[in-house]
Symmetry: C2
Subunit: 359 residues, 2 copies
Amino acid sequence: MKRRDFVKKIGLGGLATGGLLGAAPSHAAKRVNWKMVTTWPPNFPIFQDGVERFAKDVRAMSGGKMSIHTFAAGELIPAMQSFDAVSQGTVEMGHGAAYYWAGKIPAAQFFTAVPFGMNAQGMNAWLTSGGGLELWHEVYAPHGLIAFPMGNTGVQMGGWFRKKINALADLKGIKMRIPGLGGKVIAKAGVNPVLLAGGEIYTALERGTIDATEWVGPYHDMRLGLHRAAKYYYYPGWQEPGPTLELSINLKAWNELPRDLQLIVQTAAAASNAWMGAEFQARNIESLRSLRDDKKIEILPFPDDVLRGLRGFTQETLDELAEKDALFKKVYNAYRKFSAGNEDWNAISEVAYARTFTL
Amino acid sequence: MKRRDFVKKIGLGGLATGGLLGAAPSHAAKRVNWKMVTTWPPNFPIFQDGVERFAKDVRAMSGGKMSIHTFAAGELIPAMQSFDAVSQGTVEMGHGAAYYWAGKIPAAQFFTAVPFGMNAQGMNAWLTSGGGLELWHEVYAPHGLIAFPMGNTGVQMGGWFRKKINALADLKGIKMRIPGLGGKVIAKAGVNPVLLAGGEIYTALERGTIDATEWVGPYHDMRLGLHRAAKYYYYPGWQEPGPTLELSINLKAWNELPRDLQLIVQTAAAASNAWMGAEFQARNIESLRSLRDDKKIEILPFPDDVLRGLRGFTQETLDELAEKDALFKKVYNAYRKFSAGNEDWNAISEVAYARTFTL
């Protein structure tokens, strides 16, 4: 009962446009001390950096009225328990990615990335100005949570392969580290998708325990040393074309936060969202430059046949999930409607413009 | 002399990474009341909206400590005098686009957009994480100004034409409303570029006083009624592939602003930058949908021949300007270096990914 009251109180429709109906009314003098857990290892570049930056910004902008004490994965709570910790109010805030909670909420995946879905620009437009954030809030409210986009890796890379992939059939029997929906989709092509934590990937690939892995993009992949463990680096990252990272907040704590601090949190998250996107782009540019000089590797596009096949399997996978889960179906439909328009506009703006560089 | 002291004081290198070395040290209790002039008509959608939103955010986040009174173009100062007004401290802040000041500072154009230059994602990466903002500050400091990116229209449209363009030669003798570098470039193809204020464009095009015009994108173009004044709507907007709008601030006023308020201003600008980008994308998607249903118009790509020609003329134009102005050359070189890497990374990320939609 109480939970439902909160949902009403926050005035879901208004949040995305800056209305903060449920907030405490005045500029309270009381100091706020919050805890924030993340799903990232300590010092994980850009990801954890963006979180620290956000916490620092909130503290400074509030003139010290609000302090957020950040904890990397495992420092207070294991990474994959952060959803429950924030939901139950053990801590007030979390940072990760909504698709990590697909087991509890299949629909949450649309708020991060789905294979052959929208890129960062599309996700930001949908979430900010296309009704996406309101849907996200609706999906999270029954779990006592509210979330905001905070970070985006941009288009990822398709991954590192020990053997060359010439056709869809070459994927059959391959053991690949690839989590989530990407793993479900590529399994339909005969890949055996496995889960491995970041720290285990290099050794597994180098020793041939796995045949392939996806990770993030040139910058993070090089830091993990993957270019020394496999020869073929494939693009594009069809499985994660622009994953949005999430700031999750306990809904009760959020509703009790004074209005000015709510706005400080939301604005700092938006700034951090943009900062992380810019950092990923700039660092990937630099790392790609080094990789281009590395004669031991080959940077290759997936064959059209492979991409066409994976796109078909993606359609099948999403349709199957929509059959099983009404909330998934609802979000899928809204996402599809926006992304169809986004694709149409991109075709005559971004895509047509990028084409001029090839003339 | 004094001016040079300010340049030193603000610690240019540190600003982009959040260092605010020159700020007043403590969380001052003194109320700050600033004036902000823009180059936009009152209620100009998204452009002026983003400014109002920014001012509202700053006031709310600062708990009322900082108020920014906004004035649309002409309400206090004519649009094109806002640079001087902010530079001289008549008002503390302005909003517009750096390329409006090309007459005073040719190099400023790189901080908005140049023909066949970087799109919004590239500009954000360069300015935030690639050294662009530091250069911008260096270019503006001698004018007593500091600036931050605040808004981006995304790739614009190429414009409305009363006659079909089948080849580069068809541009010869056309009278087109197209300002700035785009106008300089297209003049080399024999176009007669003219300047017209927004309010005059519809009538001029409808009556045939001009043969063509560029404006913004589907959303703003439809609001101006341009789809009722010309039949052919060309893409892509080679002349403005992702113009960054600017928040300009009087440098003395900025240096005297307490540190927490500086951070509030910077963060609100970053959030507003992202919000405007998302709004342009979402509103253009909707407007394009209506235009697609309009049987009286045709939405067409510029022929390859035209784009190839304009790209060559752009190269010539930029090289000529670099010959004449050392500061232009310096910024041009930095811009070119970053955008070459950006193009290389985009080719295997955004561009390769967008291609999967055509398979």
